[in-house]
Symmetry: C2
């Protein structure tokens, strides 16, 4: 059973890397079989359908995101220090060697925009949860007397998210060597403007 | 000749709409033939290859972008008024009825990130030109004594771009009714922070 789970996780890891590059629509059991040196029937036994595979890829990428970005940040002091840690972990996440095309949630946001259905619903719910988490981090910074009391925390989350989206664009499409500097400067400006 | 050009533009208009929804990789001469009620051989005569079609779609979308976003803004007074006009036109562009999936350059930025080649080069050059145009708009605002003299205008362009990317995400994926308000609030904060 443990070995079966290990195999499945190995397949999902390969699938997340492929999704980062080619998206979910182009991810087929055939391509994944080639990448993992497994038979198509062997893969089919793990996922039963392409859509199940796609959902499991999303869930597995989300679990990795929590491990890489969220969990280490929760070990940091509440408030600005935690928000800075979230941001740095988020940049590291999109530069991870397992994600050759950058953060898969960003590319999937574009890919799935015009594809209503189970995958889109899952992604919207996951992205909304993430924005709520960022909103919560700003609320904590208010409680810690680091952010203004009247701050619109949802607006803060929108702007934090926007800096990340521009970072992914500058880093992965434009290959701008200044991408990190631009993102950190934008974060500093955002934090300055909301400080108590 | 004029009729031939009209037909070609009609095909390209349909192709831009499809690209906004499904991207360039999935855009085939076959699908476009179905959408325009033309024969595949008729379409092939206009473009010769899928890659030529893709490049012409990009060029045609770029021309429409200039007409919709840039040209009307150039009629506005130099400085902040022009930057606000650029921003409003940019929001209108992504909500145009001819773009059911929003701004095609944003979705293509994700799609082409992992696809080096002629299309990616064209998109990078086009996106860089756009960022340079935004940088120039900020330089004009400095000359007009509306922005701080020491402003990093490339940083301004990065942050303006970031607000638009988050807007497209909030509007088209999350269908957030607050998307416009969030984008305009972020713009106001950016303009406030750079004002002389």
């Amino acid at each position: 059973m443990a070995e079966k789970n290990n195999t499945k996780q190995m397949i999902l890891d390969a699938a997340i890397s492929m999704t980062s590059k080619i998206g979910l629509s182009a991810l087929s059991i055939g391509k994944l079989a080639t990448a993992t040196c497994m038979s198509k029937s062997g893969l089919f036994a793990h996922f039963n359908s392409k859509q199940n595979l796609q959902i499991e890829v999303l869930k597995s990428a989300e679990a990795k995101f929590v491990e890489t970005v969220v969990r280490p940040a929760l070990a940091k002091p509440r408030g600005v220090a935690r928000i800075r840690a979230i941001f740095e972990n988020w940049l590291s996440w999109t530069n991870s060697v397992i994600l050759p095309g950058g953060c898969p949630f960003v590319s999937l946001s574009m890919e799935l925009t015009s594809q209503p259905g189970r995958l889109q619903n899952y992604l919207i719910s996951s992205q909304t949860q993430w924005l709520n988490f960022l909103t919560g981090a700003a609320q904590i910074a208010i409680m810690e007397k680091q952010f203004r009391y009247d701050l619109d925390t949802k607006q803060f989350a929108y702007e934090l998210f926007s800096i990340f989206l521009a970072y992914q664009h500058a880093k992965h499409l434009l290959q701008d060597p200044m991408a990190e500097t631009r993102a950190r400067t934008a974060l500093d400006r955002l934090l300055d403007s909301v400080a108590l």
